[in-house]
């Protein structure tokens, strides 16, 4: 089995990362009743004998679980968030060698994160990553988590991304990027996001964009449904996809409900690589199947069931509803409508008691209503993992490479241009050593051409494209 390393950067990255570790521990504790350190656990955790006196402990290959350490690197340029984690219930999962902090933050300035902290911390970050790699016998993937709107996550985070590409090119890089909503309190978030996007487009193997507004909407809808339960329709409160219950962290902080959703995205994304199933989907299959052209690697995700209603009691109907929901607007983790845009490719990652016939039936049923690009009319990738999430009998993560990401990007571009036309706040960036105006122009043109690439594909949607005429051979 392979291992992955999570690199969480900035406030958002660390808060989301924490929810991930909490839920991952809960999931493994639920599956692994014997307390044995197994292959599944080894993908994200080390098993450490802390009695060894070298300070870091030594790894134990199998046997009883001693002390689990997350394969994580926590980076923030202020101390608050990371300190809170170290004082919280997850403190034993990390040790000081996994942390990189500074005191003053990047002040919502991409240039400070990317240029200033990037050059100061580059060596140290590389060294920490190498250290984490030494504990892996077959490292497969880096998961990078950060927000796009702030300074540290977007600036230093995207610097870490290109560092990973340079130093460890054969290890794939999957980025979970939290996009700011339109009413974001960070005024410079459009700058930061666009500057970071160029890095993501050029250096990531794939990106899972998540929009805060969508997370808010989902959380509100869940709360609303929980409070207005009709008789006979009871919402399941303990479903993992929506709650953090059962984890070691008890009190809920403002972002926690939203971050649980993102954490679940990552859990479901990696479940088939960790647990067995009748149709495994390894992490390297994600890019292979969903990225037809290197730059177009933004995958829209949706998780179901989110609003588990107990009144849909017929098992197959509930199951089919799960598939239907995965394509509806209000289950997407960005504000987008995949059904009315163009699919380049789509993956269905199913967990729990679901068979290949359930998959076939639902794909046949949904296919006619979903527009696929002409050269990938059967563009489905499927995975069946037999271990469901805690509290559910089954779940589905849909990943779509779909032109519906375009509006989010256009929106971002518009907000960027609005600021940039007035040169608002620009001097804060240009003051930073190594930062030039060229970064802005190149970033915006990178985004524009990305949007253009999606547009060109989108334009083929309603056209009847004839099959390419076949090779003729001498007979």
């Amino acid at each position: 089995m392979t291992q992955s390393i999570v690199v969480q950067v900035g406030q958002c990255g660390n808060q989301v990362g924490c929810r991930f570790w909490d839920l991952a521990l809960r999931e493994h504790a639920h599956v692994n009743k014997k307390g044995i350190y197994d292959e599944a656990l080894s993908s994200f955790f080390r098993n450490v004998d802390t009695r060894a006196n070298d300070g870091e402990g030594s790894d134990i290959a199998g046997g009883k679980i001693r002390s689990l350490k997350a394969r994580a690197i926590l980076i923030d340029m202020e101390e608050g968030v990371v300190n809170e984690i170290l004082q919280g219930p997850l403190r034993d999962v990390f040790d000081s060698t996994q942390l990189i902090t500074d005191v003053s933050g990047s002040g919502n300035n991409w240039a400070v994160g990317h240029k200033v902290y990037g050059s100061v911390y580059r060596e140290r970050i590389t060294e920490r990553v190498r250290k984490a790699m030494e504990y892996c016998d077959c490292l497969q993937c880096f998961f990078l988590i950060h927000s796009m709107g702030g300074g540290t996550g977007s600036g230093l985070g995207s610097c870490v991304l290109s560092l990973l590409e340079e130093e460890f090119p054969e290890i794939s890089r999957i980025v979970t990027a939290v996009y700011p909503s339109g009413e974001d309190d960070v005024i410079t978030s459009p700058y930061n996001s666009v500057l970071a996007m160029r890095e993501l487009t050029e250096h990531a193997d794939c990106v899972l964009p998540v929009e805060n507004q969508s997370l808010v909407d989902i959380v509100n809808k869940i709360r609303h449904m929980a409070s207005t339960t009709k008789p006979g329709s009871v919402i399941k409160k303990d479903g993992t996809l929506i709650s953090g219950q059962g984890g070691v962290t008890k009190s809920e902080k403002p972002f926690d409900a939203m971050n649980n959703i993102v954490a679940n995205l990552l859990l479901n994304l990696t479940s088939s690589a960790r647990f067995e199933g009748s149709l495994n989907m390894d992490l390297n299959e994600i890019t292979m199947n969903l990225v037809p052209f290197p730059r177009l690697h933004y995958l829209v995700s949706s998780l179901t069931p989110l609003y588990t209603l107990a009144d849909v009691n017929i098992p197959t109907r509930r199951l089919d509803q799960m598939f239907t929901d995965a394509f509806s607007k209000d289950h997407q983790l960005i504000r987008a409508d995949p059904k009315h845009s163009l699919y380049l490719a789509c993956a269905l990652m199913v967990r729990g008691n679901v068979q290949v016939s359930d998959l076939r039936r639902n794909i046949e049923r949904l296919r006619p209503s979903l527009p696929f690009v002409s050269w990938n009319q059967e563009g489905w990738k499927t995975g069946l993992c037999s271990v469901p999430p805690v509290g559910h009998s089954h779940s589905l993560l849909a990943l779509a490479n779909n032109t519906c990401v375009k509006p989010t990007f256009i929106d971002l571009k518009d907000r960027f241009i609005k600021l940039y036309k007035k040169k608002a706040h620009l001097h804060h960036y240009l003051h930073v050593e190594g930062m030039e105006q060229g970064y802005f122009t190149e970033a915006i043109s990178s985004l524009s051409s990305l949007i253009e690439e999606y547009s060109q594909l989108d334009a083929t949607k309603r056209l009847l494209i004839p099959d390419a005429s076949r090779l003729s051979i001498a007979t």
């Binding site: 009748s278 390297n284 199947n289 068979q355 290949v356 090779l471």
Partner: protein
Amino acid sequence: MSIVTVQLGQCGNQIGQELFDVITSDTNEAQRYKLSVEGKAYGVCSQERFFHDELTGELSARAVLIDMEPKVITQTMATAAKSGRWKYGDRSFFCQKQGSGNNWANGFCVHGPRHEEAVGDLVRREVERCDRLAGILTLMSVAGGTGSGVGTYITQCLRDTYPHSLILNQLTWPYGTGEVIVQNYNSILTLSHLYQCSDAILVHENDTVHRICAQLMNIKHISFSDVNKVIAHQLGSVLQPAHTQSTCSQYSRNPIGELMATLVCHPEYRLLGLCSIPQMPSSSLAYSAFTWPGLLKHLRQMLISSTKMEEGIDWQVQATAVGQRTADKCGGFNTSMANLLILRGKDVSSADARGFLDPALYSPWLPAEGAFSTWRSAIPFNRYEKSATLVSNSQSLLKPLDHMVGKAWNMFASRAYVHQYTKFGISEEDFLDSFTCLEQVLSSYRHL
């Protein structure tokens, strides 16, 4: 003589486990059979073919398990051991930590060469355990990266190492509506390369088998294990002992050799399809009675109308004598190159298979005699009182192959996903070579 099975990738390993399971349970059943002498000979022959005895007296499959990730092999070996009837050799597997990621090029250009030696050693060990080798059977899917890419590479190596042994590649073709997005690329790369080094390619289409599970076996929630049981049943019905025309009173010792002698007489034509009847839930078997004329009539119509299961057979299609074939009369008619019929069960000697000898079934430019053989065994197979399996080298795979090549070509025209292959050393020219090879195969079958 013995067969060494090489199971590759998730699909190949999961199917292999079901195959050995069917074989052992069928053999156990046969030994209880009332013609005890015959039953015993059947058992001895089958065991020599597929198993060797461990010192402990356990049956150990003559098989090698290969995957680039550990989970499937761990599960497959455990499931086999749980059966209590047979197991895999403790050291006859090879796995790595990380799969080929559905990338044929990764399997073929990276994993294959890197592990050639280790895999070659495992196969050699099995081969050396056989008194005589009848041939090598590989099991793999074409859609993923390991079975298809590593499987193709290993087949090439086996061809070099065992130039005089027969290699039969059993391939599972993906569901048409997709499970792997690059499945058509992986499929064409596999098929075009195997066409150069395999002796015969035996195809199961997941769509067809799935329909058999749904409509004939009446399974509501079809799992891969259900699908694999059907595939294993069909394979077992071919590979279990039978009397061939040349062996008459004895069980044939070389099923793969005789199968190829009948079915593959021209290198341009090596795609074999398979259909079996009857297929039904085991709970209904006790209440069903079949006659040989009835079974063979259905099977013959399935052949000429290219219906791959006993349901929705088109009875309009007729075999027309060669001179009278016209475009409209041939509509839907499936021309054969060669056919092999395997009959098992009660009163098998009375079954009249002459309907398959009709020259009208075969390509006009080939002598019809020699294009058809029958194997028989009086021992019922896998609890079916009577059963018939037809292995045919005909146009029946033309349509699915044409779809596969067409879809791959469409994708290739936009160059989508090609960068994932060039990364590992498969160039656009390599793709073009594969397309050319398969267009040639298609054209040959079309003009049968």
